[in-house]
């Protein structure tokens, strides 16, 4: 994490986060809530955002980071314009969703949890989207793709590149 991040917070975003911190700070155990709101505002939780939260709530950065890394719902890396989510739940996994994930990683040249350099795609894994009958399944944004085979991946992704 030593690389300088490209993080930028617009005045509006900063103001929004400050407001969330202000209204939550007197509530004990509000850190989770603030992190969720912050992720909603910025899409992810870079060091700059976590520092603002730590300072605003009067707790240490190591505590904020500990919570942010404990829950898989929080992301420390920016998300792409299109968010790919591959189901690794039992049914999908048995049907070979790990191969689907591998193929996506290969096509995009990034690992699960990362974002492409052009900011177009990010990949995550999830556990069950409730479409086990269609296993293996992935979602791109709010669209569900089922009964996948690795060779289908490239064509699907190309649709989003247009």
């Amino acid at each position: 994490m030593d690389k300088k991040s490209d993080f930028h917070s617009s005045a509006q975003q900063t103001q929004k986060l400050k407001a969330v911190i202000e209204e939550s700070r007197s509530t004990p155990g509000c850190l989770m809530h603030v992190l969720q709101e912050a992720q909603g505002i910025y899409g992810y939780l870079p060091i700059e955002v976590q520092s603002m939260i730590a300072e605003g709530l009067g707790i240490s950065l190591s505590e904020v980071y500990g919570v942010a890394t404990f829950y898989s719902q929080f992301s420390l890396k920016p998300k792409g314009k299109h968010r790919i989510s591959v189901c690794l739940g039992t049914a999908c996994y048995v049907k070979g969703s790990d191969k689907i994930l591998e193929e996506i990683e290969k096509v995009l040249g990034i690992k699960c949890g990362e974002c492409t350099e052009d900011g177009l795609f990010s990949i995550d894994s999830c556990r069950c989207v409730g479409a086990c009958g269609l296993a293996p399944v992935m979602m791109i944004d709010n669209e569900v793709y089922g009964k996948l085979k690795p060779e289908m991946v490239k064509d699907i992704l190309d649709k989003y590149k247009a």
């Binding site: 240490s60 190591s62 980071y65």
Partner: protein
């Protein structure tokens, strides 16, 4: 009167106050329940499951360190079920533990090793993925090897107790590890180097960054003159590393042992503690008389100084400009002593033996670089003595080398909280009023976190405070900031109880640490050496006369400022 609860532990009746845990109650029955994550005054979370016992009224095994006793309860601590559970717990710890025990600093002094032996574990019962994390060597004072870590959280709790919070658990499940925010190196965290995490660690995941090799090579270099000096509290604790009773003053044996390592000389750091007092007391009087920023804070503790620079830079003008005794000694040797003995500075190798890890950082500060060549902890000195094959306990008592042997009792008590304050008051009061003869300032003694007192000296009302533990220091700074409290002179030591409880002191077994009041027992050795000393006031030490007459002129002289004083600067952390 508090309500008493009657219970039986392994059939032995015990009566303890309500709210007592099974662990504490068992001690009353002279039964020790094994622990790992528990550490008295530091960590009590019931997470490691080593202290599990059977108790009537409870379902399954319970963690004795957090489970309260109940009337009529029957506890069994040593059943087959308990033993099997503990053994499995240990084997699970070991499945992920880097078992490089032979060369581990904590070999023979490791809680995990001791328990593993006791429970006849199979260290390879669970073979799993190796967990390889980088070793953090980013600071000059501590090394963290997380592959040895068992995630007991004792270091995190120690850091939290200091309210520094430089480290915490990161990640989840198998990937949990201890580190600084954003997995940055410790050197980029708010860490101040107090080393309380090291003495809290039950295994070898944390250790000081050793400078022993540099000292050995200087000792075998014929072109170097090596000079050792030892901090006041080292003599109060070094014996522990050789199984001597806690609180034994081993000054004579310590000197004899160091002499057998063949340095050029062994000096007494109590001497520059006295010198610090001469300078600091003069500075205090000067500040009072010229309306300079008050309160004046002591500057002996480098972790405290770093804390102010990082967290409360607005108080930098309040820190005494005096270097610490360690740095004063180095600076004095590299100027006065070299001049007097016609030795080139480059050929002198200065080793300070200290109870502290932050001192390793202090001697690497730009402002004072070169004064001290190596700072080694009490633990490192003990290791050197053992490596050299010196039978410490059989040694005769020997005396420090002249001219830096004789010091006042005021210098000795520097190692305990309140000691620097008391030493300074003895001399400052006398400087202000020659007829002031009080030598004992009882109100600033004892291991309480914040001690306050008011003294009337030569028409000046002095409000003083002695603080130990950085959480207490933070509280006090906030009170000063808000105007709630007003002081003239404040002593701060970062470690709870002061240097006797420093991060470089011998690591004692949990069994001892959980049953002994360590800070008090160690401090006693220093206060008894103070009362036995005919010289109680730094200013009365003939060595001070020699140093000032011969070299420095007078306290706070231009030359003294050049050699014995320093400066501080704000230091931004992430």
């Amino acid at each position: 009167m508090e309500k008493m609860v009657n219970l039986k532990i392994n059939g032995i009746p015990v009566s303890v106050p309500e709210g007592t845990t099974i662990l504490e109650a068992a001690r009353k029955a002279h039964i020790e329940i094994p622990t790992l994550c528990f550490l008295k005054d530091v960590n009590c979370v019931g997470s490691c499951r080593m202290c599990v016992v059977e108790a009537t009224g409870a379902r399954g095994l319970v963690a004795a360190c957090v489970y309260p006793v109940a009337e009529g309860m029957e506890v069994r601590t040593n059943t087959e079920k308990c033993r099997q559970s503990r053994k499995m717990t240990l084997e699970l710890f070991l499945s992920k533990h880097k078992k490089k025990c032979l060369s581990c600093e904590r070999n023979h002094n490791c809680e995990l090793q001791k328990l593993s032996l006791g429970y006849s574990v199979d260290e390879d019962r669970f073979k799993g993925e190796d967990f390889v994390l980088p070793i953090d060597t980013s600071t000059p004072y501590v090394v963290r090897d997380n592959d040895k870590c068992i995630n007991c959280m004792r270091c995190v709790a120690a850091c939290k107790k200091q309210n520094v919070n430089a480290i915490g658990p990161i990640g989840r499940g198998f990937n949990v590890h201890i580190g600084s925010a954003f997995d940055r190196p410790l050197s980029e965290s708010p860490c101040v180097g107090c080393g309380q995490c090291i003495v809290a660690c039950p295994v070898g995941a944390l250790a000081e960054k050793s400078n022993v090799d540099e000292v050995w090579s200087a000792l075998s270099d014929s072109t170097k003159k090596v000079i050792f000096y030892t901090a006041p509290s080292v003599r109060a604790t070094l014996g522990e590393a050789f199984d001597m009773p806690i609180g034994t003053n081993v000054e004579g044996k310590m000197v004899a042992a160091i002499r057998r390592l063949n340095p050029h000389a062994v000096f007494n750091m109590d001497v520059t503690a006295d010198l610090t007092i001469m300078e600091e007391a003069s500075e205090l009087i000067n500040r009072i008389k010229t309306n300079k920023p008050l309160p004046m804070f002591t500057s002996c503790c480098p972790a405290w100084v770093k804390f102010v620079e990082q967290t409360y830079p607005e108080f930098i003008p309040n820190i005494s400009t005096c270097k610490s005794p360690q740095q004063m000694f180095g600076a004095l040797l590299k100027s006065y002593w070299c001049e007097k003995h016609d030795v080139a500075k480059e050929n002198l190798f200065v080793v300070s033996v200290i109870p502290c890890t932050a001192k390793k950082y202090e001697c690497k500060r730009d402002e004072m670089l070169g004064d001290v060549d190596a700072a080694i902890t009490t633990r490192e000195l003990a290791r050197m003595i053992k490596t050299a094959g010196i039978k410490f306990t059989e040694l005769p008592d020997e005396e420090f080398d002249n001219p830096f042997a004789l010091a006042s009792g005021a210098g000795a008590i520097f190692g305990a909280t309140g000691g620097v304050m008391e030493a300074a008051l003895r001399t400052a009061a006398h400087m202000l009023d020659g007829s002031f003869e009080v030598l004992d300032f009882f109100a600033v003694r004892g291991s309480k976190g914040i001690k306050e007192a008011t003294y009337l000296v030569a028409g000046h009302t002095l409000h003083v405070a002695a603080v130990s533990g950085l959480d207490n220091a933070r509280t006090l700074l906030e009170q000063i900031k808000s105007g709630e409290k007003k002081y003239d002179f404040v002593e701060v030591m970062s470690c709870p109880g002061g240097c006797v409880n420093g991060g470089g002191q011998p690591t004692l077994s949990d069994s001892v640490r959980n049953s002994v009041e360590l800070k008090e027992a160690r401090a006693k050795a220093l206060y008894s050496s103070d009362t036995q000393n005919e010289l109680r006031r730094s200013a009365d030490s003939p060595v001070m006369d020699v140093i000032y007459d011969d070299f420095l002129g007078f306290p706070n002289s231009h030359k003294a400022h050049e050699i014995l004083h320093t400066s501080y600067a704000p230091h931004k952390i992430i």
